[in-house]
């Protein structure tokens, strides 16, 4: 049995420890906001927080996540009021929306480390793929979120 804490809730799972955390979150726990995009930690659609750090959950075995605090997009805020979500809303960032859970989770973790990010900081740290090409708005929303978090 593997003990896992997801969005503050404890789970005991009878599952192979090498299962990628992504599929545990989606298919065992039933939280589908975390997406499968590539399975090789290239695209970031599966980004979640593990002990506060952004992690591509397709590349992390659930056995290595045991005992750690995992946060998914569903657990980011109870009311979609996290400043990053509000910035995403204000900039109307998403198009198809499939990658956006991962983009938001990556941005939240990034802003903790870079509360006043420059464009270069964004370029150096945020590498999630968006095929709809919402990058212009993601960049604007990150700057907006940084301002909101200081307000």
């Amino acid at each position: 049995m593997i003990s896992l804490t997801v969005n503050g809730k404890a789970y005991e799972l009878d599952i192979e420890p090498e299962t990628p955390l992504l599929w545990v979150i989606r298919d065992e726990i039933g939280l589908t906001g975390t997406k499968y995009g590539c399975g090789i930690a290239q695209c970031g659609a599966c980004t979640v927080h593990v002990d506060g750090e952004a992690v591509r959950s397709c590349g992390l075995q659930v056995g290595d996540a045991a005992g750690k605090a995992i946060t998914t997009i569903e657990g980011l805020s109870p009311d979609t009021k996290h400043p990053v979500q509000q910035a995403w809303l204000a900039e109307d960032v998403p198009q198809c929306g499939y990658c956006q859970s991962g983009q938001i989770m990556a941005a939240v973790a990034f802003l903790k480390e870079h509360p006043s990010p420059t464009d270069a900081d964004i370029d150096d740290n945020l590498t999630n793929i968006c095929r709809c090409g919402t990058y212009v708005r993601i960049r604007r929303a990150i700057h907006r979120a940084a301002a909101l978090m200081k307000a």
Binding site: W23, I122, G133, Y135, V136
Partner: protein, 726 residues
């Protein structure tokens, strides 16, 4: 644990604004009992006024969208068109997908329901305006009848009908039952653009609230009671067949239920997707790949180049090209000839193809993301052997489409595997499966030849095009006279005024299936044409912007677009060493789009695109903010293909399997983008999903030429050796 989430068709997309202006999300999670009660979803409602509109007792306006939402903003822009006529309270609009089953029953009341070819607004605007106007007029008639007054004394506004003289008013919700019984002698006139109040506003997208907290449901998020999962490998060589596979390696593996053999594929069904995927990797299927198994990209490139030397079908023949070339040569003119090439490109939409299928007695339900709902219904019928009326299609939010979800190969697999499994099956193509079994942008080669007169202006133009046929591979086979619009668009219908102009094409297909890829033929043809026009300008010693302008002088709309990008894009202004600007303009899907790209090339030959300035003329704009977003996204999509997009084939199989070998533009590579509207009022409601992609590759290639003097005639541009050239 394992909560079962099943959403009805209605619940998938419903999103609304609250009266206070906040955003409410109306996604309900039904339990298993509810599923049993309403197994196939509803496609009519008691409070409907016509097929597009229902008005609930609480005043909610439920709009049924005939087009799918795949990021292009359909479920915001389309209800705006209806609401414009309905005179309803926008804050009370909700959206669900129209039902393809009802569309079939009711003689295509929703039109063709195709979400491709940038046709949501472009093709459906009149139908939607009419639906809204018809509903409004009948609501007014119902109120007038109830009050015993003339219709002309009543006014509809903000979801209410008001009798001006007496001050009486009734909410639409109170009138909908009466209105639904009223038949109009003639459909009412619809508004003209000058009368629009809602259309033209940058209203927030209705789906954004669902897409920032994980609530939006994509096909991959489907969960049904007793559902099992399937992973699949199709023959790596398209068109190949499964000869045999030994299922011993997966027998007894945890969770594995069965191995399903299909003519072209092998699938593993398990209680979890990961277990199915891991088990599948243990199998060693034997494939019959036939002659296709010996092909590669170099052979294909030769095929298309060789085709240029053979016979062509005539796509256009103005004047006398042969005589004009001869005359130019004998009068001090100049001949400019060039060969251009483009490789296959993958869609690589973020959500890999997947579908869920559930048989229940003589009925079949499927959940997927499709751009062609009627086509999906037909495919489901053909695959299952059931009649279309026995089948329900649940379309979900599409995790990217770009044309890929116009051929639902995944649906066929899901139905066949569910039939074999005797249980509801969610079948998921891995990213590797998705990338190696795409319906790729066709490979192409073109030879372009032009005679410039002694003043440097083109007098004769001869284009020969060799390209894969999309129509053949998509099953329509509709290639009259050996041509299809997708092969020749952007060249045969060029707007450059050249008196003698000839375009020929020859369609050549290989076993690599080709399909509709964002901007379709315009993707490669705009690269060819707009790079080549740039060559002509330089050969003539003219400024590329001025040269184009002279050839487009008869088109005021083009002039407005090209002047806008030249001005806003700082055309002709000084740049640092190693930097260059390139310009391109193109028309497709009833929209004119121009772009100026600014790039730099460093000493090692690395290209960086710093800025793209775009101007767009779609004539009528429903939502400027969505137009801007679509052009931004189109540019990024075009840039990924221009710089990196290269699907290659070895031993008959596609070599690129994932984003590590098929790279994408990411945030750090994304240029600054400015989008300007340069509208020429008129009857066009130009498409907006695709045009942004077309001019990006040539604008960037032309900018690289400006920076380095190197003319790039082949995509992707990353393959060019630009070291030491800037």
């Amino acid at each position: 644990m394992n909560q079962t989430i099943t959403l009805s068709r209605r619940q998938f997309v419903a999103a609304s604004l609250t009266a206070a202006g906040g955003l409410a999300i109306s996604v309900n999670f039904a339990d298993a009992a509810t599923i049993g009660a309403t197994p196939y979803g509803e496609d009519t409602a008691p409070n409907e006024i016509n097929a597009f509109l229902a008005i609930e007792p609480d005043g909610t306006i439920m709009f049924r969208s005939p087009h799918a939402e795949m990021g292009q903003g359909a479920i915001t822009a389309l209800p705006m068109i209806v609401a414009e006529e309905l005179e309803c309270d926008w804050a009370r609009i909700k959206v669900e997908y129209a039902s393809p089953s009802r569309n079939m029953r009711e003689k295509m009341v929703y039109g063709d329901m195709v979400t491709a070819g940038s046709r949501g607004v472009r093709m459906s605007w009149r139908m939607l305006q009419q639906a809204g106007a018809s509903a409004r007029v009948r609501l007014v008639a119902a109120a007038a009848k109830r009050w015993g007054v003339a219709e002309g004394e009543c006014e509809a506004a903000n979801s209410k009908v008001t009798h001006k003289a007496s001050g009486r008013s009734l909410d639409y919700a109170a009138l909908v039952a009466d209105a639904a019984t009223i038949t109009l002698a003639a459909e009412p006139a619809i508004k003209t653009p000058a009368q629009f109040k809602l259309i033209g506003q940058s209203l927030p997208r209705l789906d954004t609230p669902l897409k920032i907290n994980g609530a939006a449901k994509f096909a991959l998020d489907t969960r049904l009671p007793d559902m099992v999962y399937a992973a699949i490998n199709a023959c790596p060589v398209m068109g190949g067949t499964l000869m045999s596979v030994d299922d011993a390696p997966v027998k007894g593996r945890r969770g594995v239920i069965q191995v399903v053999k299909l003519p072209d594929a092998v699938a593993v069904v398990a209680d979890r997707y990961w277990r199915a995927k891991e088990a599948l990797a243990q199998l060693k299927p034997e494939w019959d790949t036939g002659a296709a198994g010996k092909t590669d990209s170099a052979q294909f490139a030769k095929l298309y180049r060789d085709t240029l030397e053979g016979p062509m079908a005539s796509a256009r023949n103005d004047g006398d090209v042969v005589a004009a070339f001869a005359r130019a040569q004998s009068t001090g003119g100049k001949i400019v000839e060039a060969l251009y090439e483009a490789p296959h490109a993958a869609h690589a939409q973020m959500e890999p193809l997947n579908a869920t299928a559930r048989f229940d007695g003589d009925r079949l339900e499927v959940w997927l993301g499709t751009q062609i709902q009627m086509g999906a219904l037909r495919l489901a019928a053909a695959t299952s052997g059931l009649k279309p009326e026995q089948i329900t299609i649940h379309n979900c939010f599409l995790g990217g489409g770009f044309g890929r979800r116009g051929n639902n190969d995944e649906l066929r697999h899901a139905i066949l595997v569910a039939k074999a499994a005797g249980k509801p099956v969610k079948l998921v193509w891995s990213r590797e499966e998705d990338m190696t079994h795409d319906r790729y942008r066709p490979q192409a080669a073109v030879r372009l030849k032009t005679a410039l007169d002694k003043d440097g202006m083109p007098v004769a133009f001869d284009a020969r095009i060799a390209v894969g046929s999309i129509q053949r591979d998509s099953g329509s086979g509709n290639t009259p006279n050996g041509l299809e619009p997708q092969a020749i668009e952007g060249i045969a219908n060029t707007n450059y005024r050249i008196p003698n102009l000839r375009v020929g094409a020859m369609l050549r297909n290989t076993h690599i299936k080709v399909g509709f890829w964002r901007s379709v033929g315009s993707s490669q043809n705009a690269f060819f044409m707009e790079s080549y026009i740039d060559e002509l300008a330089h050969a003539a010693g003219k400024d590329p912007y001025r040269f184009r302008r002279a050839l487009l002088a008869h088109r005021g709309d083009f002039i407005r677009v090209i002047d806008t990008i030249a001005e806003k894009g700082d055309w002709g202004k000084p740049l640092p060493a190693g930097h260059g600007r390139g310009i391109a303009i193109h028309e497709c899907y009833d929209t004119i789009i121009g772009q100026v790209a600014e790039v730099s090339v460093d000493k090692q030959g690395n290209v960086r695109v710093h800025r793209v300035v775009a101007a767009v003329d779609c004539s009528t704009v429903v939502n400027p903010k969505i137009v801007e977003a679509q052009i931004e996204g189109g540019i990024i999509y075009g840039l990924s293909a221009a710089l990196y997009g290269d699907i290659t084939v070895k031993d008959g199989a596609v070599e690129q399997e994932n984003f590590d070998t098929y790279p994408m533009v990411r945030l750090a590579d994304a240029p600054k983008i400015e989008v300007h509207l340069a509208l020429t009022p008129g009857k066009r409601w130009g498409g907006i999903g695709e045009p942004g992609t077309a001019p990006t590759a040539p604008a960037v290639a032309n900018a690289i030429f400006a920076a380095t003097g190197v003319r790039l005639r082949k995509m992707p541009l990353k393959d060019a050796n630009l070291g030491g050239r800037a």
